[in-house]
Symmetry: C2
Subunit: 312 residues, 2 copies
């Protein structure tokens, strides 16, 4: 039975898997630290793929999820914020030269959208928005059963719309983007700022906060922590209302660690949606749900991309 | 030679035209006030189409541009803010029953996008955003040479994203949408407010302002009028930066009366784009231009829709 090789390359870890063409349960999964010791990241990736290469089966092709902006048509990674030195890397060409099989690449958040649509919470929907809220805010959009890529494959950067003009500085260098207000680090930073300005909180004794700390404190009834998640949920709702007007999807799927704060985030999000939607028609037949693939979303989305090699 | 019949239905005027299948110069164009006297709007539309119906040629089909949210799959107009009584109107079915030819319908701003893409400033682009700034702000998006419609055809409402939380009231009833800040009436309202708060302006003697008054005063060097257009251009740029991140198009086409203010609007728009874009890559190979079809955009966009009947 022919197989696909897929690899999800993160700043911390590379996960690779081998899937037989008729299955979406992996035959084998391997992990490796992305950056460790003296061996370059690219060689570590080559080695991991060689390890996972099936002994007797044909390999249809390789698909890679990459942690940065990607030109999927040319197979180039423009840059990876968390992998120093990876810039304008012609990964498809390099991989083809090394392994002599077809190679496809995509942006990891885009592929997570593809994974949730094909194998997860988005199954059966033809139009959906996937938003992942964690260290950053990214995502992807499915329109008519196709991933939105745009002219150079850079589309779907839905964490970078301005929801607060002149607001906090975003990871991208600009101000007031959704990511700068509702991502995990943004939630932690806002909470720290409130404490430094004298707000009462059970978190005030802690030195450096994470969004997880805030989420835990909210669950224990801390009013400041609850306000912090309310604020993030509100701005997520403001942005999503705009996305409903733009895309008119039937599903919004929320992934990433921060969405595990549950109703502390989701109730204000739904409230903001109602307060910013131009007509209730956009909320009819709309599913808003959390992602279902968990940590597997990277590999499953990359498998969905790999499967396009068969059709082509 | 078989022909298409197209009609662009506005709140004030219905324009109808007959095009031969091999041409995009109309054989005949007729106009009629949409609402006048006792005859219902629908009968006025029927009459206008009957007048324009070719004597000897076969009619391939009819295409209608409608001034409100449309379900193009079902052929239903959900509502038309400027035509009282037109709500949940099954226009396609009614037209088919009356004229016995295939009928397609679309939202007017969406079809204007289609027209500029097929016949106007957007020719040759596979991914573009069209924004019309006039009484409201509407538009349409072309992705991979297809009009973005969404699950029920409501997509492309790009005037209704929130750019100023808790900002001015929008025509749709919500607050802080782009339309509430950068449309013609919004520009005029802001100028009036500044004058009532004591700002000096050559416009201060006028009772009720329009965006055209403001544009004229700006051309004569009035600082308040220049600021008003700067403010609108800035927020348009903020919104468009977000749309570039989302869609990664190669062209942004600006239509509608307000964009005739030229550089008073466009220079602040371009400045805001640079200040809010997450990476200059999104601005590479990007054309930002004004629409080229002028008043014909409605009929030409509707012709582009009609031509899909031939392919089907």
């Amino acid at each position: 039975m022919p197989s696909y090789i897929v690899a999800d390359i993160g700043g911390t870890q590379i996960r690779a898997a081998c899937f037989r063409a008729d299955s979406h349960t992996p035959e084998r999964v391997e992990r490796l630290a992305t950056q460790s010791g003296v061996m370059p990241v690219l060689d570590r990736l080559y080695n991991l793929i060689s390890v996972i290469w099936p002994q007797n089966d044909e390999v249809i092709g390789i698909a890679l999820a990459l942690p940065g902006p990607v030109d999927p048509f040319q197979g180039i990674l423009f840059g990876a914020p968390n992998i120093p030195g990876w810039a304008n890397l012609p990964l498809r060409r390099l991989m083809v030269e090394r392994f002599h099989v077809p190679v496809v690449v995509g942006n990891d958040a885009n592929l997570a959208a593809l994974g949730e649509w094909k194998f997860g919470a988005g199954r059966g929907h033809h139009h959906l928005i996937y938003i992942t809220v964690s260290t950053g805010i990214g995502g992807g959009v499915i329109i008519n059963d196709e991933l939105l890529l745009g002219s150079r494959g850079l589309a779907g950067e839905i964490g970078h719309i301005t929801v607060m003009p002149n607001g906090p500085l975003c990871g991208c260098g600009q101000r007031g983007h959704l990511e700068a207000i509702a991502s995990g680090p943004a939630i932690a930073r806002w909470t720290e700022e409130q404490i430094s300005q004298g707000a009462a909180s059970t978190l005030s004794t802690q030195k450096r906060l994470s969004a997880k700390d805030v989420s835990r404190a909210a669950q224990q009834g801390d009013p400041l922590a609850i306000s912090a998640l309310e604020r993030a949920g509100n701005y997520l709702g403001v942005a999503i209302a705009g996305y409903l007007h733009i895309f008119n999807p039937t599903a919004v799927i929320l992934g990433g660690g921060v969405t595990q704060s549950g109703d502390f985030l989701l109730l204000p999000l739904r409230k903001a949606l109602r307060e910013h939607i131009m007509s209730p028609t956009f909320l009819e037949n709309l599913t808003i749900t959390t992602a279902s693939l968990g940590d597997d979303v990277g590999l499953m989305g990359t498998l969905a991309l790999a499967q396009t090699l068969r059709k082509a």
